[in-house]
């Protein structure tokens, strides 16, 4: 039934998201009274049980927060501990870290574009259903995903929870000859990535823009494995000042905390923010693909994030090829990171956005306090805000169609609910 003044929509188990969440929308008197992205993923208390662990342990332990972006956790953890201990990882070791992270971007973005998000645009329940009509397309997506995973397997030992990352660098670094077959595979992946951008550019994008402030890392390269924070409104601060600028609050319906700027502003992190703030740092090939797909200087339509992810796959493949071509094995696999009392902060660009870690260490290097702020909890306020406006403009739709559109809108943000703790379950209530 449509045009009712009071109604409630509920999606009890959101599909094609990473983790467990639900959506609840209540419409009263023709107005959207309440929109909640309920995150009921059970809490796992990482920040509590990290206390008393050795400074060498967070890369292995925090990887287990998320099976889709373990390298993001490992990297932010390493950066924070290295800062606390006064160590710096740069040069070829930093490049290797970036190369491993490119693998994760390719794997994670290909998963989201092909298996989670594209079925919404094409009217399928999922990629398996899509493959019945368009097997070649799904096979292309799986080839891309495999390229990312293979890069992670060679550098990290395995794709999910890589074993080769340690504070200070790696346990073992590859010989040049080990990377040569990867380059061959990535050259084929580059064609698949460019085809992906052209394919996604043909999707129909609902007319919707948001006005949140963008927050992304800023570095001398397109930001991936580190950098300082910068916003679209001119805020600029290092990882060490993250907690001065950003505050997290708890809401009753969620096991994920909601982040805001300390002055109350909401913001958005992730591919749209990265692209809009760092477009000039894309490689010529990625820029050309973006322009060809109709992406301008900035992108404020969350539905078009699928395009931005596709462009970032092109970039990550291109960048991985560049890093492999210039690779000279470092003279040692890791720099020493000697424990000392102190506090360190680390930020990196997980596929879904900024991931912050902070550790306080005692003189023996044991952790006395830990804080982890994943991208999805930073985006949750903005997601709910966008959904409220999105629903308000579409109240003429019947419950089934409105629910379907809402689910698609949530997937725009590629929420990683496992990360934020925290299955999507949509409830639309029209009372």
């Amino acid at each position: 039934m449509t045009h009712r003044h009071d109604r409630t929509l509920k999606v009890g188990e959101l599909a094609r998201v990473e983790g467990e969440g639900a959506l609840y929308v209540r419409v009263r008197g023709g107005d959207v009274a309440e929109v909640r992205l309920d995150i009921y993923e059970p809490p796992r208390f990482f920040e509590a049980f990290l206390r008393g662990r050795a400074h060498t342990e967070p890369p292995d332990i925090t990887a287990r927060i998320c099976g889709i972006c373990p390298v993001a956790y490992q990297t932010s953890a390493c950066l924070a501990i290295e800062e606390a201990c006064g160590a710096t990882v740069d040069g070829p070791l930093r490049d290797l870290r970036r190369l491993l992270y490119c693998g994760e971007w390719i794997e994670s973005h290909a998963l989201h574009v092909y298996l989670l998000h594209a079925p919404d645009f094409l009217g399928y329940h999922g990629a398996v259903e899509l493959a019945r009509d368009h097997r070649d397309i799904v096979e292309r997506g799986l080839r891309l995903k495999k390229a990312g995973n293979t890069l992670m397997e060679v550098l990290g030992g395995r794709a999910i929870h890589p074993v080769n990352v340690r504070v200070g660098g790696f346990y073992r670094v590859p010989a040049r000859a080990e990377l040569a077959p990867l380059a061959e595979m990535l050259r084929r992946a580059l064609d698949d990535a460019l085809d992906t951008v052209r394919w996604a550019a043909g999707f129909e994008f609902p007319d919707f823009v948001h006005d949140h402030e963008y927050l992304a890392l800023s570095a001398d390269r397109y930001p991936i494995e580190g950098g300082d924070l910068r916003s679209g409104a001119g805020r600029a601060f290092p990882a060490a000042a993250f907690e001065d600028h950003i505050t997290e609050e708890q809401v009753p319906h969620s096991t994920a905390l909601h982040a805001r700027f300390t002055d109350g502003g909401t913001y958005l992190t992730g591919p749209l923010a990265r692209y809009s703030l760092n477009r000039h740092l894309l490689s010529p090939l990625a820029l050309e693909a973006a322009a060809g797909a109709g992406l301008g200087a900035e992108c404020r339509n969350p539905f078009r994030s699928v395009l931005v992810r596709a462009v970032e796959i092109v970039y990550a493949v291109d960048e991985a090829l560049r890093l492999i071509a210039g690779y000279e094995p470092p003279d040692r696999p890791a720099v020493p990171v000697e424990p000392r009392a102190g506090t360190g902060h680390g930020v990196s660009e997980a596929p879904r956005g900024v991931l912050y870690h902070r550790y306080d260490l005692d003189a023996d290097g044991l952790i006395t306090a830990a804080r982890i702020v994943p991208p999805t909890s930073q985006n949750q306020t903005a997601i709910e805000d966008d959904l409220r406006r999105f629903v308000a403009a579409r109240l003429h739709l019947d419950d089934a169609e409105l629910t379907r559109r809402c689910e698609q809108a949530i997937r725009n943000y590629d929420p990683c609910i496992s990360c934020s703790t925290h299955f999507l379950d949509l409830t639309v209530e029209r009372t």
Binding site: P43, L115, G126, K145, H161
Partner: protein, 261 residues
């Protein structure tokens, strides 16, 4: 009619069910052999149960999940648990040895909003399980082996020996003997393919205790001085993704016990 497959998630990182999507070369072939009837991460279409095979990821940590796992068991002909969370409680079982209310107060300003159990427990603690596949994460080849075995009605070929066997067959140099690097390989269930020693680090126990723990248990305490590890370091290395399983395997049996403290 094709057998139906369902995938369920409890407290976990998503990594073990992602392993199914990571079978890039086999996924579409598998989707031709079985009907993927319930796999929320991959599809919004939910087929009605009962299901022939259910893969269960994650541990039980909330009152609601106690009920949900009984429902999953009731609608599943064969129930296979995948990964350290489902088979041993996962890294979140570190709460079992601490005060969960104190944990919640560290992470949340309003811990009273959080519904959680004092312990993180494996699926088999609540319902009968037909097969347990270990690993943090599980190994892709082993997952395919277990699925194809169940589809053809044979026993899965998943050896229960220690990582040391895999190290030898891979031709790795023993990191403990050659470099004095502490390694959990002798006491850890095989399955990963001995990745860590191949990358020059010691095994850190992702696949949980091997049956070696119950039988000819290596005397880790006697090895400690040689490995230059303190008791605290030994306790920490055994207290990660399979903490509850390693501690249970190390229940004191008499003198010479090498239980992690």
């Amino acid at each position: 009619m094709a057998p139906t497959l369902a995938v369920w998630k409890f407290a976990s990182c998503d990594g073990c069910q992602l392993t199914l999507l990571d079978c890039e070369d086999e996924l579409l072939a598998l989707a031709g052999r079985v009907e993927i009837a319930h796999f929320l991460e991959a599809s919004g279409a939910v087929g009605e149960g009962p299901y022939d095979v259910s893969l269960v990821e994650g541990s039980i940590t909330t009152p609601a999940d106690l009920d949900r796992i009984r429902h999953v068991r009731a609608v599943s002909r064969t129930l296979i648990t995948i990964g350290a969370c489902a088979t041993a409680g996962g890294v979140q079982a570190l709460r079992n040895f601490a005060d969960v209310r104190e944990f919640a107060s560290v992470v949340y300003a309003r811990p009273e909003y959080i519904a959680t159990l004092a312990e993180s427990t494996p699926i088999a603690a609540h319902v009968p399980v037909d097969f347990e596949l270990h690993g943090c994460p599980i190994d892709r080849r082993q997952l395919l082996e277990v699925l194809s075995a169940h589809l053809t009605g044979r026993r899965p070929d998943v050896p229960a020996h220690s990582v040391c066997f895999e190290c030898k067959s891979r031709g790795n140099v023993c990191v403990m003997v050659a470099h004095g690097t502490p390694c959990l390989g002798p006491v850890t269930h095989a399955g990963c393919g001995a990745i860590c020693p191949a990358y020059g680090r010691g095994c850190y126990g992702c696949f949980g205790p091997s049956p070696a723990w119950d039988g000819a248990r290596p005397n880790t305490r006697a090895l400690l001085p040689w490995l230059d590890m303190t008791e605290d370091e030994t306790r920490r290395v055994l207290s990660t993704f399979n903490v509850a399983a390693f501690r249970e395997a190390a229940v004191p049996e008499g003198p010479g016990d090498d239980a992690p403290a």
